[in-house]
């Protein structure tokens, strides 16, 4: 009896040992559709035509970055094939192009597809097909929901996080805040507003004395601005897209209203907002950001900036060096390459999501120092920290500490 047990035990141990030896061998190379020993296929959509084609430079810069990676030997010996289609920011076109990418071009995953409406249109499809929709180029908070959508992950600071930071900042800096909010009446506006209320805490409804909304199709926001001024508020949270942001800033100055003015990052642009609004009208406006603005003289001798500039000149010479979107593309591409390197030889879709969800304290280039990428199985928001910035003279000047809202996904 004992003899048999011992023999069984021995055999068992032997088998176990064999299994242990064997398993790394079998796990060495694993692929899903779109990956081989020599190639990784990645898909993308961007608006290269239409009203929002200014964003298209992101796709071109990513393409240039991946060319550079391929020239330097690729990732673990594999070359990247990057296929990017024009969707003109039209959701139906995105659906069609993404179906082409997944079903015909057979990409391993799609990366940095751009825009909230286009990504919403493919959200369910990607998750039904179980193909990663990685690091999407939109700030909506709904991309960080691994429970319901485990195949979708955001990238940049989401609107909710950003608005929370403003709320905390104003509570700490403004005495007796009475807040007026101007909001674009759509998902983007509501996302910011909800985050803002969260940040203000339970007194939110008391602190906000006036909420005015506008439709993206409205010609101006003048009447809303008069309403907001008359509410007697001393804080103004400006949730608007560039055209309306410029109008609001100008109108506030015309009305002689000088509240503590928080402007959402969506419109924190010198060229498209501050200049049209009049630089003198925009002084001391506050915003928050995570990227280094390439036009800011502060970064003229910055290591990141110089490296990025060299990359642009060599691989994307037609790109605009004053365009922050190209810096954005550089940062997000770096994160992509980091995740793919981590995947090693296990290029399955499951492993890509797993590795994307286990980045710890990774500093991206062209992102302000101290703002790091952190993800986990429950945290699908890669960047969740910002630095406050104040408009002085002709540029936004970062000040204070990095403010992190690193939290678990909802």
């Amino acid at each position: 009896m004992t003899q048999t047990t011992r023999r069984l035990l021995l055999a068992g141990t032997g088998a176990l040992a064999l299994a242990l030896v064997a398993s790394p061998v079998s796990a060495q190379k694993k692929y899903d559709e779109g990956a081989t020993d020599t190639e990784i296929k990645i898909g993308n959509t961007n608006p290269y035509s239409g009203n929002l084609s200014a964003y298209g430079t992101i796709g071109k810069a990513i393409d240039a970055y991946l060319k550079m990676v391929n020239e330097q030997g690729g990732i673990n010996g594999r070359k990247i094939t990057f296929t990017s289609y024009d969707d003109g920011y039209a959701p139906p076109k995105t659906v069609e192009m993404v179906r082409k990418l997944v079903e015909e071009d057979k990409v391993l995953f799609v990366f940095n597809t751009l825009g909230t409406p286009p990504n919403s249109a493919i959200h369910k499809y990607m998750n039904a097909k179980q193909v990663p929709q990685l690091f999407v180029a939109t700030g909506a908070s709904k991309w960080g929901n691994p429970k319901e959508f485990p195949w979708t992950m955001g990238f940049q600071v989401d609107y909710v996080t950003e608005a929370t930071v403003y709320a905390k900042h104003l509570l700490a800096n403004v005495k007796d805040p009475k807040i007026a909010v101007l909001m674009q009446n759509d998902d983007y506006g509501k996302d910011y507003f909800n985050g803002f209320k969260q940040g203000l805490g339970k007194d939110a409804d008391k602190l906000i004395v006036q909420l005015s909304t506008y439709e993206p199709t409205d010609p101006t926001v003048d009447s809303q601005m008069i309403q907001l001024k008359n509410s007697g508020a001393n804080v103004f949270f400006n949730i608007t897209t560039p055209k309306f942001a410029a109008q609001a800033i100008r109108k506030a100055a015309e009305l002689g209203w000088k509240p503590a003015h928080y402007l959402n990052n969506v419109s924190a642009s010198v060229a498209t907002v501050m200049k049209p609004a009049g630089l003198e009208n925009g002084q001391d406006i506050l915003t928050a950001g995570y990227l280094k603005d390439p036009t800011n003289p502060l970064y003229a001798n910055d290591k990141d900036f110089l490296e990025w500039k060299a990359f642009m000149q060599k691989y994307y010479p037609s790109g605009n060096l004053a365009d922050g979107f190209n810096g954005y593309a550089y940062a997000v591409s770096t994160l992509l390459v980091h995740v793919l390197k981590q995947c090693g030889d296990d290029l399955t879709r499951t492993n890509i999501m797993k590795q994307a969800a286990s980045v710890k304290g990774f500093q991206l280039p062209m992102v302000i120092e101290g703002i790091k990428v952190n993800t986990s199985a429950t945290d699908f928001y890669p960047i969740q920290a910002v630095k406050m910035q104040r408009f002085k003279g002709e540029s936004f000047e970062p000040f204070g500490e990095v403010i992190s809202a690193e939290a678990q996904s909802q």
Partner: protein, 347 residues
């Protein structure tokens, strides 16, 4: 111009109804066999079947416009609007009321007929380019109406509606895309058959008489107003059914699917295919899907293949193709092919 189109249009209808009927049916059978041949061998991907289905859908939409413009002489720059009404009718019924997809088709058809008929009433007072402008206004207005705040509870605003493709019934060994391709094909055959019979009837002849000389047609006792409005309704019905099918196979509708560019695309498809010809509708449908959607990809491929020193704009190829076609085949591809066939036979 008008008389030659008439002659060609009539000839096309006659040809279809007489000698070439057999060829048409043979082509349909081959198309119907594609899922079995292509699907099993993997020769055509599911995405490929989606593309084929879309071509057929656009062919139905173009057919709607051809009935109106080619056979009744009324110009419309707003057929995208009827396409949208059909698509949303179907999508909302599936999404909100959980209707099976096939049951939404007749509703979309009736809905579009009514909308088209009602729109046709005031349109009676508008001739030629005034009608074109009125319909154009409709095309521009529809996406905005779909985004309207108080309709959001059922249209879902800018975000659009996601629906899921029906699975094939009876456990057929087909994928969803293949099954829907067959459904779309069957409906298209039915709708083309009805259109052919319509044009070959008294009604059809009255339609064409109105197109060629509405005053003369009136003198002969044709109720011009009645015919014009009804044809507007029928035309909207065709395009609306196409819209509903589009929503079902595409699994998604959004206001941006139906921008006025769609109306222009349908018109261009009709003109390029052959404005007064049923085969022209098929060619037009293929044109809308292939050239229009892939002009961009094609432009890129050509740029890299030929190593052009300049960056071509995405729509370059589309523009060039249109200009060339209009110069070489002013009566559309169908008309051009018919002419070519005649010459070859003659020589």
């Amino acid at each position: 111009m008008a008389t030659t189109t008439t002659a060609n249009g009539l000839a096309a209808v006659r040809r279809m109804s007489l000698g070439q009927g057999r060829w048409v049916w043979a082509a349909v059978v081959i198309l119907a066999l594609l899922p079995i041949i292509g699907g099993k061998t993997g020769f055509i991907s599911n995405y490929g079947f989606l593309q084929l289905s879309l071509m057929i859908v656009y062919a139905i939409a173009v057919l709607g416009l051809i009935l109106l413009t080619g056979f009744n002489g009324q110009i419309s720059l707003g057929h995208g609007a009827f396409f949208a009404v059909g698509a949303y009718t179907s999508a909302v019924l599936i999404d909100q009321a959980n209707w099976p997809y096939w049951a939404t088709l007749p509703v979309a058809a009736i809905m579009c007929f009514v909308v088209g008929y009602l729109f046709g009433l005031p349109a009676l007072r508008l001739e030629g380019h005034y009608l074109a402008l009125a319909t154009f206004a409709l095309a521009v207005a529809v996406p905005q109406i779909l985004k309207y705040r108080h309709f959001e509870w059922f249209t879902n605003g800018v975000q659009g509606i996601n629906i899921f493709k029906p699975a094939p019934p009876f456990g057929l060994p087909l994928s969803g895309d293949q099954w829907m391709y067959l459904v779309v094909l069957a409906i298209a055959v039915l709708m083309f058959w009805i259109a052919r019979n319509l044009l070959d009837s008294r009604t059809g002849r009255a339609m064409m008489a109105i197109r060629d000389h509405s005053m003369a047609a009136g003198t002969m006792g044709i109720n011009v107003a009645h015919y014009k409005t009804v044809v507007f309704g029928i035309s909207a019905l065709y395009t609306g059914v196409a819209g509903a099918l589009h929503a079902i196979i595409f699994e998604f509708v959004a206001p941006d699917s139906f921008r006025f560019e769609l109306s222009i695309a349908i018109l261009v498809g009709a003109v390029v295919g052959g404005i007064a010809s049923l085969p022209g509708a098929v060619i037009g449908g293929v044109f809308v899907q292939v050239i229009e959607k892939y002009a961009d990809a094609l432009t890129k491929k050509i740029t890299t293949a030929v190593h052009l020193p300049i960056d071509l704009e995405p729509w370059t190829i589309y523009g060039i193709a249109l200009i060339v076609l209009m110069y070489t085949m002013p009566m559309g591809i169908a008309g051009g092919l018919a002419l070519l066939w005649k010459r070859l036979k003659g020589s």
